[in-house]
């Protein structure tokens, strides 16, 4: 796996003075993969991207692309397309000149340049904006120009540093689908930095969750969402309920856990735990069923303390003996009311242990 990785970060660290921003990081990215680096600000994801682009040098470790070390190469020799958060379009050039810039740097002939610039701008639906200045375009249009400029020279790797952060929600979702589409069509390897979890879930083949300069977990969006391995990941991606408790028995991949407040629940787990061990159990709000009477393996009796109308669903805060539970209740079920006594139930497969 590591041997044939397209991009490989090998024990990469980066420190600014006494601040370690990237800490002994190991990451392998396959050709054609769309990998998102997701994490809070200051978690080292952008620094890692800047090191891949060549704007920062690693303090230790090595970065290779296609088996060749690149960490000593200056940025202009790396042949990677970079899309910046603020677009970084050259304000003194027209849209067409911006997109032609990388081709000019590569000595592409004038006629071929014109043709490829035309194609690239058509691809991002800006065919009629060749002679405009960047300042005359909207944010979304500027981002499309930046995208065309980063793709026009057909780099094998495209790096994106929160490229959609400055756009409004609707436009951002549109651009997410557009970038996804371009990724599929051109078979590009894309490394995408974001702090928006929905964006990462929508676009990525794999997501790397960053925290304090390390990768907490990396995997497919569904793995990250459905089986977060740590409390940090569980809380960073989506919403979660955490129940802390003590293992009372462990057999056949099923744990008996006594949660705070004394109730027993069962948790499916392949890992072995000793009875008496302290664990944290994570359950997503949408996996919890709220009913007058249960029928599932795990039942916690609760009292509804708040109901929030969210349009497509109701967010119910249910007080259990172990603490408040957040439940995402579909509108199909009869609406719970504040003060109702109910049973919150979920199956052992829909909850898991987090570190």
């Amino acid at each position: 796996m590591m041997g044939n990785a397209f991009i490989h970060f090998d024990n990469v660290s980066k420190a600014f003075g006494v601040m370690t921003v990237v800490d002994n990081l190991e990451l392998a990215i396959q050709q054609g993969e769309f990998v998102s680096m997701l994490g809070p600000s200051g978690s080292g994801k952008t620094t890692l991207l800047m090191m891949l682009a060549g704007f920062e040098a690693p303090s230790s470790g090595s970065i290779s692309v296609k088996g060749k070390r690149v960490d000593a190469l200056p940025p202009y020799k790396r042949n990677m397309g970079v899309v910046f958060q603020n677009y970084a379009l050259f304000p003194h050039m027209t849209v067409a000149e911006n997109v032609a810039f990388p081709l000019k740097m590569r000595g592409v002939s004038r006629s071929e340049t014109a043709e490829r610039v035309g194609k690239a701008l058509d691809m991002v639906q800006l065919g009629q904006f060749h002679e405009r200045r960047p300042s005359q375009l909207s944010g979304g249009q500027q981002q499309r120009v930046a995208l065309a400029r980063a793709l026009v020279f057909e780099p094998e790797v495209v790096l994106m540093d929160e490229p959609l952060g400055a756009l409004d929600k609707k436009l951002r979702e549109q651009m997410q689908m557009d970038i996804r589409d371009i990724h599929h069509r051109l078979g590009l390897t894309i490394v995408f930095v974001t702090h928006d979890q929905a964006e990462a879930l929508t676009m990525s083949d794999r997501i790397a969750i960053f925290n304090h300069g390390k990768i907490e977990q990396i995997g497919k969006p569904s793995e990250i969402y459905d089986r977060p391995t740590t409390q940090f990941v569980a809380e960073f991606i989506g919403e979660t309920n955490l129940l802390s408790g003590r293992v009372t028995a462990c057999r056949n991949g099923l744990l008996d856990v006594a949660v705070e407040g004394g109730q027993q629940i069962k948790v499916a787990s392949t890992a072995k735990f000793e009875p008496g061990e302290h664990v944290k159990v994570s359950v997503r709000p949408e996996r919890i069923e709220l009913a007058p009477a249960g029928g599932s393996a795990n039942e916690l009796s609760v009292r509804v303390s708040d109901v929030v109308y969210r349009g497509d669903h109701l967010q119910v805060i249910a007080a259990a003996a172990s603490g408040p539970l957040v439940v995402k209740s579909t509108r199909k079920a009869s609406a719970p009311r504040i003060g109702d006594e109910a049973v919150a139930s979920f199956s052992p497969e829909q909850c898991w242990i987090v570190a």
Partner: protein, 261 residues
């Protein structure tokens, strides 16, 4: 609520009057036909402009000013821009802080002190009483204006633009030529204009390092005032001011065009 705009207007006009009054006092005298530099003006004529362009001493001085001004502008702009590029983004380092201070020092060192020093040094290197000597002297005091202007322009450039250019395949020298310098151009042009203006009205250093052949307009005005106060000075001043206004207007137009386009 009403008092604030009123006091603003009064204060603003007072400042403008304070700054402009001397100009408006001297300018009409350029058009007098009297031989005395005083009011009231008996009748208007262009004889002093005629004098300026025909009298040998004045004509020579105008040509000298243009030669020295052009030389100073080129030298100061190039050196000042290079210095600003070198000092860019290194505000924390003590060494670079020292260099920055050195470049800005001529702005605060008394011209007389510089003049005495330069006179002694230029004599030793054969630069005394030469055009090159005067250009070098003027460059020393013009550089701070270029450094200040270009540094400010460079600070306004988003470093990510240069990173973007590098990622698109531009080696550092191309990034400089095609991204950094074009974006800093308004500052460089302002710096060049200031350098030219500094050279034009510099008197003290010129007195020390220039010989009779490098007499500039400012120097000529200075000695004319001492010897015989003629309205030719007012005419020269008029040309100075008109020239400055024209250059400032050009710079403004260039900037505006760049911003709009």
């Amino acid at each position: 609520m009403k008092a604030l705009p009123l006091s603003k207007a009064v204060f603003g006009s007072a400042v403008v009057v304070f700054l402009m009054a001397p100009l408006f006092a001297i300018l009409p005298l350029a058009f007098t036909d009297s031989v005395f530099l005083n009011y009231p003006i008996p009748s208007f004529s262009l004889r002093w402009f005629d004098e300026l362009f025909t009298a040998d001493a004045w004509r020579r001085s105008i040509i000298n000013s243009l030669i020295i001004g052009a030389g100073t502008t080129v030298l100061a702009t190039v050196l000042g821009t290079v210095a600003s590029l070198g000092l860019r983004g290194r505000s924390v380092s003590l060494l670079f802080g020292f260099f920055r201070t050195v470049f800005l020092l001529p702005m605060v060192v008394p011209a007389v002190v510089l003049g005495v020093g330069m006179q002694l040094m230029f004599a030793q290197y054969g630069l005394a009483n030469t055009y090159l000597g005067v250009i070098v002297a003027h460059t020393v005091i013009a550089i701070p204006f270029v450094v200040v202007n270009v540094t400010a322009a460079l600070q306004g450039i988003d470093h990510r633009l240069e990173n973007a250019a590098a990622s698109l395949g531009a080696p550092p020298i191309v990034v400089l030529r095609r991204v950094t310098l074009p974006l800093a151009m308004p500052g460089i042009i302002s710096g060049a204009v200031f350098a030219f203006a500094t050279s034009l009205d510099e008197v003290v250093l010129t007195l020390f390092v220039a010989g009779p052949n490098q007499r500039t307009v400012a120097r000529q005005m200075f000695s004319t005032i001492r010897e015989n106060i003629s309205p030719a000075i007012a005419a020269a001043a008029f040309l100075f001011i008109a020239g400055t206004v024209v250059i400032a207007a050009l710079v403004y137009l260039v900037r505006r065009r760049n911003q709009i386009a």
